[in-house]
């Protein structure tokens, strides 16, 4: 058996371990195959997507290689699906809207909630105590509970635009962020702040120059969790935003399906690929932080 306590020692793989590697390799390939299938189909003509979903060719390989190759040509549609998809959804603008909303909201949540959490842990009044409890409470309330009233109020207050929705996200997302920041600040020794105060820092200086840098791991965790939520969120923006003017990626994808339920699958494949691609790139670049963020978030949440 393998020695768990000294992972740095030269490892000998048992036969079982090697079998496991092979099995997992197959399973994980199957696991991401839906993404690969969509990618492949995004280059095919509409008619052949449903007829031969798992092959690039219109014919079976058993019908001979030449026929198979001609089948590839027959179903090949080049980048036409992409052009259709981008035109139909106005994808470039949609992408910009999604990017702006996500970055702006996450920035707002991090800035406001870190300061709020700092304030309510260090200044103890009845108001801050009640505020903290309300934040905890808001975490268990499902969105459907406030869906109707929230979207109507947002419309009345002119928040139906990408800037306004940031304020809505700050309000609805404050619970988790304040909760996680508070948890971290409570475990932070107060001496550091006192030292900074003695050195002549104002409370605001203390916060930005001393406290905020120390909170960096929590900030990363919150940033990742909130980004994953806001980037993929469908219901809140579809109700709050003026969707004739502003659409996020999930809204654009959903609206490719027309009211009578007909979908242009060629364009859909291309849009799906374009929707997934930035996520995968972001994931591969920031993988370490994402996985750590999820681990930390689960333990605290």
């Amino acid at each position: 058996m393998k020695d768990l306590s000294t992972p740095k020692a030269v490892k000998r793989y048992s036969a079982f371990d090697n079998v496991l590697t092979v099995i997992l390799a197959i399973v994980s390939l199957l696991w991401i195959s839906p993404i690969l299938i969509v990618f492949m189909n995004s280059f095919k003509r509409k008619a052949y997507i449903f007829r031969n979903p798992f092959s690039i060719s219109a014919y079976e390989l058993s019908e001979g290689f030449d026929k198979w190759m001609s089948g590839v040509k027959k179903s090949w549609f080049g980048l036409q699906n992409y052009i259709n998809g981008i035109n139909k959804t106005d994808l470039i603008k949609v992408f910009g809207t999604s990017l702006f909303i996500t970055i702006f909201s996450v920035f707002l949540i991090i800035l406001c909630c870190s300061m709020t959490a700092y304030y309510i842990t260090r200044v103890k009044t009845r108001f801050t105590k009640i505020f903290y409890l309300l934040c905890l409470f808001s975490m268990i309330v499902p969105f459907q509970m406030v869906m109707f009233t929230l979207s109507k109020f947002a419309n009345m207050l002119n928040l139906s635009n990408p800037v306004g929705i940031g304020i809505v996200y700050l309000g609805f997302g404050a619970g988790l962020a304040v909760f996680m920041y508070t948890g971290f600040i409570k475990s932070m020794p107060i001496d550091i702040e006192e030292a900074a105060m003695i050195d002549g820092c104002t409370p605001i200086q203390t916060f930005f120059e001393v406290v905020f840098p120390i909170m960096k791991p929590t900030t990363i965790t919150i940033g990742i969790l909130e980004t994953m939520w806001i980037w993929n969120d469908y219901l809140l923006p579809s109700l709050v935003l003026n969707i004739n003017k502003y659409r996020t990626i999930p809204i654009a994808v959903q609206f490719l399906k027309q009211s009578h339920g007909i979908i242009d699958w060629g364009a859909m494949m291309a849009v799906l690929v374009l929707a997934i691609l930035p996520i995968i790139i972001f994931y591969l670049v920031a993988q370490k932080y994402i996985i750590e963020g999820v681990m930390a978030g689960a333990v605290k949440g």
Partner: protein, 273 residues
């Protein structure tokens, strides 16, 4: 502090309190309402004196869906986590690919699978919404695919937190394989298992995007989970917003009860340790 308070009031507090108030009113907008008492709540079950089972069906369907997904997701995620903490070759690549679907949002994810399901079922002249059960298993597959990677990461974190000396001691005492898993690993993992169980439980109850995109509640509202049922009541027919809000209050109470139970269990565990 002040901006957060204002945003919190707009984004949560006022809509929440007002939502509870409106559940006792007949309304179409937030400024035009009439107090009707409990009428909205009775209308969930009785329409014109007749029993309406749509909501009850949805409640039952959601519960079944939640139980099935909780079991599948947790068992598979735990198994993969065990395999990936043995230190075998390729661990990092496997972890990367298992986690990947999780980052893709519910809507995009559902259309990927809708295409695959319907392409396969096309050969049998069926679609995913041919019956409520094909819709059911379709959603189970999509949701499992999405969440197994997430839970796997949490289980891996839990497994790595088990002190190696405990395992070592058990091995010296002659435990191995199943026995080690059953007597040492599982009990030590109980806090993590509790977290994951409740995460999947609330995710199952609150599921909306996948339901909307994959089945849209078809056939004939038979595959509607609670969240979509509430949404349809609000925006499907005019004049029913009050009933929708009343359903939302009940939905909130259900989710809140689950969360309170979870909280009780985790705090009790912490005291014991």
């Amino acid at each position: 502090m002040i901006p957060t308070t204002i945003a919190f009031a707009i984004g949560f507090l006022v809509p929440f309190v007002y939502g509870i108030f409106l559940s006792f009113c007949k309304f179409t907008t937030v400024i035009d309402f009439k107090w009707v008492g409990l009428e909205n709540y009775t209308k969930i079950l009785y329409v014109n004196g007749k029993l309406d089972t749509t909501f009850l069906h949805s409640l039952w369907y959601t519960s079944l869906f939640t139980v099935v997904t909780v079991l599948i997701i947790n068992v598979v995620a735990f198994a993969i986590a065990i395999a990936l903490t043995r230190g075998i070759r390729g661990t990092n690549i496997f972890r990367t690919s298992f986690f990947m679907p999780n980052l893709i949002g519910g809507i995009v994810l559902s259309y990927i699978w809708l295409m695959i399901f319907n392409a396969i079922l096309d050969d049998y002249s069926k679609t995913i919404v041919s019956t409520q059960w094909s819709a059911f298993w379709g959603m189970v597959i999509v949701v499992s695919w999405q969440q197994i990677g997430y839970m796997m990461v949490i289980y891996i974190a839990g497994l790595q937190n088990i002190p190696p000396d405990v395992i070592e001691a058990a091995k010296i005492d002659g435990a191995s394989g199943w026995k080690l898993l059953k007597e040492i690993t599982l009990p030590m993992m109980m806090p993590t298992i509790t977290i994951c169980t409740f995460l999947t439980l609330t995710n199952g109850f609150k599921l909306f995007d996948q339901n909307l995109a994959l089945t849209g509640g078809n056939p004939a509202q038979q595959s509607e989970l609670l969240a979509l049922n509430i949404y349809d009541t609000f925006y499907g027919t005019s004049g029913w917003q009050g009933v929708g809000q009343a359903k939302a209050v009940i939905f909130f109470i259900l989710v809140a009860v689950i969360s309170v139970i979870q909280n009780k269990i985790t705090t009790r565990k912490e005291v014991e340790q």
